[in-house]
Symmetry: C2
Subunit: 350 residues, 2 copies
């Protein structure tokens, strides 16, 4: 009257050992190809294991070895294609290294992040990969630090946390975008999606300011719109910029999603991107190249993050005492069709 699989309960190492007339030690060693067990025995054990459908219980093994082969990944969001790509890269890289991913999503909510990371910690991952929720502080990550488990921050970082970091040089990237627009002749350049709640947002804002300064242009706060990097926000931000008395002739965006929204805003105002108004995105997700018109944007080399962060994590697992490492990739400007020289006279919507 038992559930699936004949016999009572699951097949464990002990049962296997009893049935084979061996000790659990020998069976355990045999299954892991230890050289200390005779070939004949090893083969016999492995065959029996396969035949009986033995599946090791890693929880039990981890209890003994203090290694779970789990990596806890805590992301602030996975819907944005750039973070999906990050997650996919991480999963792939860790999978190759024999680690399995335990996933937690904070949805930009610090309280939820605390809860989620706490839960992940209970599974004793060998390492954490974290992209902190907006407004996270060092204190919010203190519990992680106290756990003694290696932590690698990816994309975003909490300054002063003292963890390894893999990300992109946001300041330089945004500087490239602004310089490109300046080179085309633009003098009033907006920023859609200032997002100081995240380190990426702060640095992109800094890059924007630096870019203006390098061109001798003044920083005008009214040309900056706030909000997280979502489509809606891009659209609203663009609407606000266009409604100004002296609207900008171009804008850089916090990310590509924002840019897509901004493009809709342009379209709604009857303006053509690349002609009436120039727009630069950020990230270079797959859709950017396919969009119509194709989006000029800054490539942050997202596909490299996953493997990179995984490498950092594996290195720290191997040597917890190695110096903190920060890998900052240099982004690249990708010029497509949404940027061009400004119209002689600044456009005003009717």
């Amino acid at each position: 009257m038992t559930e699936a699989s004949s016999g009572a309960g699951r097949v464990t190492l002990q049962r296997l050992a009893r049935e084979l007339g061996l000790s659990t030690a020998t069976v355990s060693l045999a299954l892991r190809d230890s050289a200390v067990v005779a070939d004949a025995t090893r083969i016999k054990v492995q065959e029996a294991a396969r035949a009986r459908g033995y599946v090791a219980n890693r929880g039990a093994a981890s209890l003994r070895t203090a290694r779970t082969n789990i990596v806890g990944i805590g992301l602030h969001d996975i819907i944005n294609p750039s973070f999906t790509e990050l997650l996919a890269g991480l999963e792939d890289a860790f999978s190759i290294a024999g680690k399995t991913v335990l996933l937690g999503v904070s949805q930009e909510d610090v309280a939820r992040q605390t809860r989620t990371l706490g839960t992940l910690a209970e599974y004793r991952p060998d390492a954490f990969i974290v992209s902190p929720a907006a407004n996270s502080t060092v204190a919010d990550l203190k519990a992680l630090a106290a756990s003694g488990i290696p932590v690698v921050q990816v994309t975003r970082e909490v300054e002063g946390s003292g963890f390894d970091f893999a990300g992109s040089d946001d300041e330089t990237g945004m500087g490239l975008a602004v310089a490109h627009l300046v080179g085309l002749g633009h003098r009033r350049i907006g920023l859609i999606g200032s997002y100081p709640a995240a380190s990426t947002g702060r640095r992109r804002l800094a890059g924007y300011k630096a870019g203006l300064a390098a061109a001798g242009l003044p920083f005008d706060p009214t040309l900056v719109t706030d909000g997280p990097g979502l489509r809606d926000m891009g659209r609203q931000g663009m609407a606000r910029l266009l409604a100004l008395d002296a609207p900008p002739t171009a804008a850089v965006c916090f990310n590509d999603l924002t840019a897509f929204g901004a493009l809709m805003g342009l379209q709604a105002a009857g303006l053509a991107a690349g002609k009436d108004f120039s727009l630069v995105g950020y990230d270079d997700i797959a859709e950017a190249a396919l969009w119509h018109p194709a989006l000029t944007t800054v490539y942050t080399r997202i596909p490299e993050y996953g493997p990179l962060a995984a490498k950092l994590a594996l290195a720290r697992m191997a040597d917890p005492h190695r110096p903190v490492e920060r890998v900052v990739l240099t982004p690249q400007l990708v010029i497509r069709a949404t940027t061009g020289a400004p119209r002689p006279v600044a456009p005003r919507p009717v």
Copy 2:
């Protein structure tokens, strides 16, 4: 000279108990708010736990309780936005139910899927959510079935596997798309992205055929292009259709990603979607509405899948003997700008 956190090693239940002068039994019960322990004791224990930074070891607990609160999620892909959305929905729903997600991605590779699911199984998840890789057979999932762990298939299914299933009525959905095109006056309608390796592909093909038959139109295999649902494939498929002696005037696509590629193919041929050629996507991912021109597509109600699959899984955990349940959502046609009446004369590219 020890690592972080004072004292030797981590703080365990036993240590906590010793320091408090209590037994581990009492501490364990107190931490879980058992009514059997005095209020004063309970509070004292919980405060001490917090103060000492105690983090329960779920691996150890699971060993005893045979419950891990882990859900193994094996997806064939997570890059496609529709599956990202699925994953996000699953994570959210399970997180609310107190379950944590252990992730595995097969990348459409059956061998990799076998490996991945095998690894996930070693962590003894309370349930599996699976979207099987293309060409998976019942045999490929037999190991899962034998494990005695509840399995819920989502989106795709392996016929005859006998697992619960949450998905969309693909046949009806594709029928809607074809009927819409027929209603606009189209008589030669292609299918870009026949994908018989997956149940979704087979059913969408069936729906395509049924739609044609319902309109009294013949099925012409040359109007069908093969391949997985990726952008490149859509572009190539469209190129092939347009190169035919008698090209179709419209086409349905396996999914939105394919449709985006197909739109590029149209553009490359100098044709305007919705005017020179009508195109219908499938899924209705966020980009579909924002694309230019906005994509007519079939909404498969993806956001509902995650919570739905989670519900099925939780129900089966609660009662492993309940009858197998298949929930099939009815999709909806979303008419936007890529479809219209056919041109009097079939277009030919130069």
